[in-house]
């Protein structure tokens, strides 16, 4: 049946909806596009015949089936790309503007381009807010204290704070830091909030 290849793409998204981004299936997308090309050409041929010979309507059903299949394939492809973009957008808010290399490796060149553009648009928007900009990815929950205690989960080297002082992020070391400086690192799993 037509549309099976496209459904495979959708199944892939469905399988990985809980996890992180799966690899971009370039081969699958190409195969769907090829199927669509074949369907389209067959339809063009049949329609041209229909126009020439009005009395013969028998190929109309086939045209209809191919047309529906084309629409279906288009829908699957769009949904595949759209749902990936949704996930990539969520990644921007969770991982920050720099994605881990293995996530990046799962993206197509066009998706990387989209991510860069999204990054830029978001940065521009955040800069335009208030006086001197507002980081929307900060304080996703209302803050209770200005400073919080954190434990370092992995060796991350030096971190320079806004006031110029430097601290060394060593595994299992404890720090008392301004919340605004470490919220990102907690979300990225580098630090752990201790209460």
């Amino acid at each position: 049946m037509f549309g099976e290849k496209a459904l495979d793409l959708i199944r892939e998204v469905h399988r990985t909806r809980e996890g992180s981004l799966g690899p971009y299936n370039e081969d699958g997308v190409r195969q769907v596009l090829e199927e669509m090309q074949v369907l389209y050409e067959a339809n063009q041929q049949d329609v041209a015949q229909l126009v020439q010979n009005d009395s013969d309507q028998t190929s109309l059903t086939a045209v209809q089936i191919r047309h529906d299949s084309l629409q279906r394939n288009k829908r699957c492809l769009l949904a595949y790309l759209y749902n990936r973009l949704q996930k990539i957008r969520a990644l921007r808010w969770e991982f920050g503007s720099v994605l881990p290399t293995d996530v990046r490796g799962n993206m197509s060149p066009k998706e990387i381009e989209w991510f860069t553009k999204y990054n830029r648009a978001l940065a521009n928007y955040m800069r335009s807010l208030g006086n001197g900009g507002l980081d929307l990815t900060q304080d996703l929950h209302p803050p209770q204290n200005v400073h919080i205690e954190v434990r370092c989960v992995e060796d991350k080297g030096e971190l320079e704070l806004d006031d110029g002082s430097k601290i060394l992020l060593k595994k299992n070391s404890l720090h008392y830091l301004p919340r605004s400086q470490c919220e990102h690192l907690i979300r990225q799993g580098v630090l752990k909030h201790v209460t």
Partner: protein, 206 residues
């Protein structure tokens, strides 16, 4: 997730919904009322060039909906098995013990979609769907709002996709309520996406 837009609703409301696309690929037994030229290879049971009048074929829902449209009438469709009288009787007896996921992962949505195909039994199917859902819903809510830590996988296996979504939602709010109770909701945590990503990486290393 998009609980407000459950599968169903078709192309117009849910064009980009993965669930709706999965649901609409379920096979519907159909009989052709017209012949279709040159597409005989879609029917694996024959080697003929064309699909002939009267040949039976399992068409995916998206195609069946279009071809069975009252204005076209290229095919007639049958109700799929899990919605027939036998299964309706089972659901009526005790919907709670039926493994809906096995019958169809999108049981309610697919049933709903088939109503628009004007089956004679349409109204009976609709009634059975509502009864089955209300029967099962109480137990799902009860479970999702109270079950903590235990292994519910054998029960969840019987839920259809919408029910699973409901269950997960209830569990999530139960968990965040508990976190709030012990005063943990203020603690900043690693984002879920990131920790899931790490877990996967660790698996790959092992």
């Amino acid at each position: 997730m998009d609980l407000l837009c459950p599968p169903g609703g078709g192309m117009k409301q849910n064009y980009l919904s993965i669930d709706d696309i999965m649901m609409s690929s379920e096979k519907i037994p159909s009989t052709f009322l017209v012949s279709v030229k040159t597409l005989g290879y879609l029917d694996p049971s024959t080697n003929k060039k064309d699909i002939e009048v009267g040949s039976k074929l399992d068409l995916p829902l998206w195609l069946a909906l279009s071809l069975a449209h009252p204005r076209k009438k290229f095919v007639t469709v049958e109700l799929t098995k899990p919605y027939k009288a036998t299964y309706r009787e089972i659901l009526k007896a005790d919907a709670g013990v039926v493994n809906l996921y096995k019958l169809c992962p999108y049981y309610y949505a697919l049933g709903q979609q088939q109503l628009s195909l004007n089956h004679a039994e349409g109204i009976l199917v609709a009634r059975s769907l509502i009864l089955a859902f209300s029967d099962r819903f109480r137990r799902i809510m009860d479970l999702s709002g109270n079950a903590i830590g235990g292994d519910n996988s054998s029960l969840i296996q019987q839920f259809d996709e919408v029910e699973r979504r409901l269950f997960a939602l209830g569990q999530k709010s139960l968990q965040s309520f508990q976190r709030w109770e012990v005063g943990e909701s203020r603690t900043l945590r690693t984002s879920e996406l990131v920790s899931r990503h790490r877990k996967r990486k660790r698996e790959a290393v092992d």
